[in-house]
């Protein structure tokens, strides 16, 4: 029990597997090499699902921690820049209905309550802009298809905060190369045929068809939806959340650009449909477009027709991939000496690109909190389970928020989504509170928050929610300061829209010249 945790075995080699392997190996490197052996066992026959083309800005620090060059990453993973999400037709369903969830805090956030001032000025018709447009210059950049930085901006630095869109298959391959060549991760191509337990029900080893028995002190389950180690072997049940979030199917296609110089959107575009929504992600050589929908509220034919209508003449039925989507997560994520990362831990609709960020957060906690020996592992496991249960719950709340504020009535999908019986109590409570005060840091006090209060503000006020300030006029006291912030935002918009290149122009320059590291 007091032997050092010296070997980590990761089963499964998608982005989840490689990110976790890389983070652990990089974290435990010393001048004389790694103090931990990291082995990744990957089936040569099971294909990678390759979900998650959208990331969070956390990916920048993850790549830095792995010692990856941003130029290499952008070139080899077809990556492009992502500056948030544009939600189209989510409120009324009309063509001009949209709002942004950018990746930067509202101007003046934390100094005064911009949401209160914005609402007051807007109701007095002294201000026309939407909440996101009035408080965050990033929306203007996105609307113009501009990049978040310049060719002279060093790697990982920004003018406007950003994440990436990427080709998940290429990202996996890229990480594999980096992990095996630079970080000393051992790569074993073999199919796991049995899992062997120790007396205390820990996993002692896995037996593979091609490489014999592989033993380890800690096993990371990255086997995708099948959850081979945690779900099947250790019998941790799946907590279904489809009573809250109804999406259960995806139809995905890849669409070429009309021309070599077609603009590349620098944000994810999410367009609501009658029983789901369509994602639209621009990579450098193609777009990834897909329709996620609720099969309880529409048919596959109907969903396909809507996707075809969205895409137009470029739609090609033969490349259509249908992916059934579970909605939920394991009851716990770490049991005995096995922790699940990625789809094996759970999956939620990709509305806020939560899949890869959960992988990063999991990999980060495992790497940084790796128990020293088996004797303390149960404590780490307990804390990991509490942390991630909290995170999954907050993500579910935040995703649900996008649905309950819609005013659409064109399908029972939207009406059912607003049924209080489908809304988690934690979210209902927050919504009660927010009728009288805007979302603030006091609402999100854990060290393990996933979305900041600002994100809730962008969605709430972007979707037309009104907070009542009749009993809290003090929130409008700093009127002068708030006016200055709105002006400042306008000034910044004028300044950055003059200097930033288009998203495509910058990506082409990075492919041609590369970014400097300083």
């Amino acid at each position: 029990m007091n032997n050092k945790i010296a070997s980590v075995v990761i089963v499964g080699g998608g982005t989840a597997g490689w990110l976790t392997a890389g983070r652990i190996a990089a974290q435990h490197r010393t001048q004389t090499g790694s103090t931990i052996s990291v082995t990744l066992v990957e089936s040569p026959t099971i294909p990678i699902i390759g979900v998650g083309e959208g990331t969070w800005p956390t990916m920048r620090s993850t790549l830095m921690k792995l010692g990856i060059s941003e130029t290499d990453f952008i070139r080899e993973c077809d990556a492009s820049f992502k500056q948030g999400a544009k939600f189209s037709r989510w409120v009324t369903g009309t063509a001009d209905d949209f709002y942004y969830h950018p990746l930067m805090l509202p101007q003046g956030f934390g100094k005064t309550n911009m949401a209160a001032h914005w609402q007051a000025l807007r109701n007095e018709q002294q201000l026309q802009e939407s909440f996101s447009a009035a408080t965050c210059f990033q929306e203007a950049i996105c609307e113009l298809g501009l990049a978040p930085k310049m060719i002279t901006t060093p790697e990982f630095n920004s003018v406007a905060n950003y994440a990436y869109h990427l080709n998940a298959g290429k990202f996996s391959t890229f990480l594999q190369k980096h992990c095996t060549e630079k970080l000393g991760v051992l790569h074993v191509l073999a199919d796991v045929v049995s899992i062997n337990s120790a007396d205390n029900r820990d996993i002692r080893s896995v037996t593979t068809a091609q490489a014999g028995e592989i033993s380890g002190d800690l096993f990371v389950d990255c086997t995708g939806f099948q959850s081979l180690l945690l779900g099947q072997h250790l019998q941790v049940p799946f907590v279904d959340c489809s009573d809250v979030l109804f999406i259960d199917n995806a139809l995905a296609v890849q669409i070429p650009y009309d021309s070599d110089d077609a603009p590349i959107a620098s944000h994810t575009i999410s367009t609501a449909q009658d029983a789901g929504w369509i994602w639209d992600i621009g990579l450098i050589h193609r777009r990834g477009v897909g329709h996620v929908y609720s099969s309880r509220h529409t048919s596959e034919d109907q969903a396909t027709a809507q996707l075809a209508a969205y895409i137009g003449p470029a739609f090609n039925n033969s490349s259509l991939r249908k992916i059934p989507l579970p909605c939920g997560h394991r009851d716990i994520f770490w049991k005995n000496n096995c922790v699940a990362v990625g789809l094996s831990a759970g999956f939620l609709e990709p509305l806020e690109a939560s899949a890869l960020v959960l992988v990063e957060l999991s990999a980060s906690m495992i790497a940084e909190q790796l128990p020293a020996c088996r004797a303390v592992m149960d404590i780490t496991a307990k804390r990991f389970n509490e942390t991630f249960r909290y995170r999954w719950d907050r993500i579910i709340d935040f995703l649900k928020l996008h649905y309950i504020l819609s005013k659409r009535t064109d399908n029972t999908f939207w009406i059912d989504n607003r049924d209080p019986a489908t809304i988690p109590a934690s979210l209902q409570e927050l919504m009660q509170l927010w009728r009288y005060q805007p979302p603030g840091d006091h609402d999100f006090t854990s060290n393990n928050e996933v979305f900041p209060a600002a994100s809730y503000q962008y969605v709430l006020y972007g979707m037309g929610f009104e907070t009542c300030y009749d009993y809290s006029e003090h929130l409008l006291r700093d009127n002068q300061f708030a006016q200055e912030q709105f002006m400042k935002n306008k000034k910044t918009i004028a300044q950055v829209t003059r200097s930033l290149p288009s998203n495509r122009e910058l990506l082409q320059k990075i492919h041609l010249h590369g970014l400097q590291t300083l």
């Binding site: 310049m150 060719i151 002279t152 041609l512 590291t517």
Partner: protein, 235 residues
């Protein structure tokens, strides 16, 4: 505007260049790209720094002439106040072009230095190159070879982490504060920690001299501030 055409001994036989006007072309440049072979001449007047080409993001070596875009503190009373003017300016109006894989010399037909009256001819009446053109070609060759050489120098320094951003906060005599961004210089701390093998490599490549010249040239920033103060009428 610029309009480059290939130099032709008949088409351009009547063309004259007024050398007096060449330096005026740099009157509003606050930075000018320079090459290694010029460093010893440059250090007499100018801070030599690294900056990034705004189109490609790649590092170049530059002489600093002023503190804001458009400000050349060496251009005063319609004259370049200095005994050495960077090659990048003195090369005007000639440029290098490429035609069917061949390197050719081009001339900027929109350049202000072109005249038809008095001035230096490029070709004589029989179509032969004049001494003036010969010299211009020598300058051009020095610049082109220098650019490649300087790129290799920069690559080597980057690989050794010898380049770092330069924080330049200047207060002028009129209390005006200015933060100059986008300039880089030699990281002296990294330089001091180089192992003997790496130092040997730099020495053999002939890079120690330009490295120390760049460090020494930073003292010229004070001279440049003084020029600015003088211009503000405060020194």
């Amino acid at each position: 505007m610029t309009q480059f055409v290939a130099l032709h001994n008949q088409h351009h036989q009547q063309l004259r260049i007024d050398p007096e006007r060449i330096e005026a072309l740099g009157a509003h440049q606050h930075m000018v790209p320079v090459v290694l072979s010029e460093f010893l001449k440059l250090v007499v007047h100018y801070p030599i720094v690294f900056s990034k080409n705004s189109e490609t993001g790649q590092f170049v070596c530059s002489a600093l002439l002023g503190f804001t875009a458009g400000e050349n503190l060496f251009w005063q009373n319609n004259q370049w106040q200095g005994i050495y003017t960077p090659l990048q300016i003195m090369r005007q109006p000639f440029f290098i072009g490429e035609q069917q894989g061949q390197i050719i010399i081009c001339i900027d037909m929109e350049s202000n230095v072109l005249t038809t009256g008095k001035g230096e001819a490029i070709f004589d009446s029989s179509g032969q190159e004049t001494d003036y053109l010969q010299q211009a070609k020598t300058r051009l060759a020095a610049l082109i070879n220098g650019e490649n050489e300087t790129q290799v120098f920069i690559k080597t320094l980057l690989a050794l982490n010898l380049i770092m951003p330069m924080a330049l906060d200047i207060s002028f005599a009129n209390q005006q504060q200015q933060r100059i961004q986008g300039l880089y210089t030699i990281n002296e701390e990294t330089l001091a920690q180089l192992g003997s093998e790496q130092l040997m490599q730099l020495q053999q490549q002939g890079y120690l001299k330009p490295i120390y010249t760049m460090i020494a040239s930073l003292g010229q920033i004070y001279a440049l501030i003084q020029k600015k103060n003088a211009q503000l009428g405060l020194a």
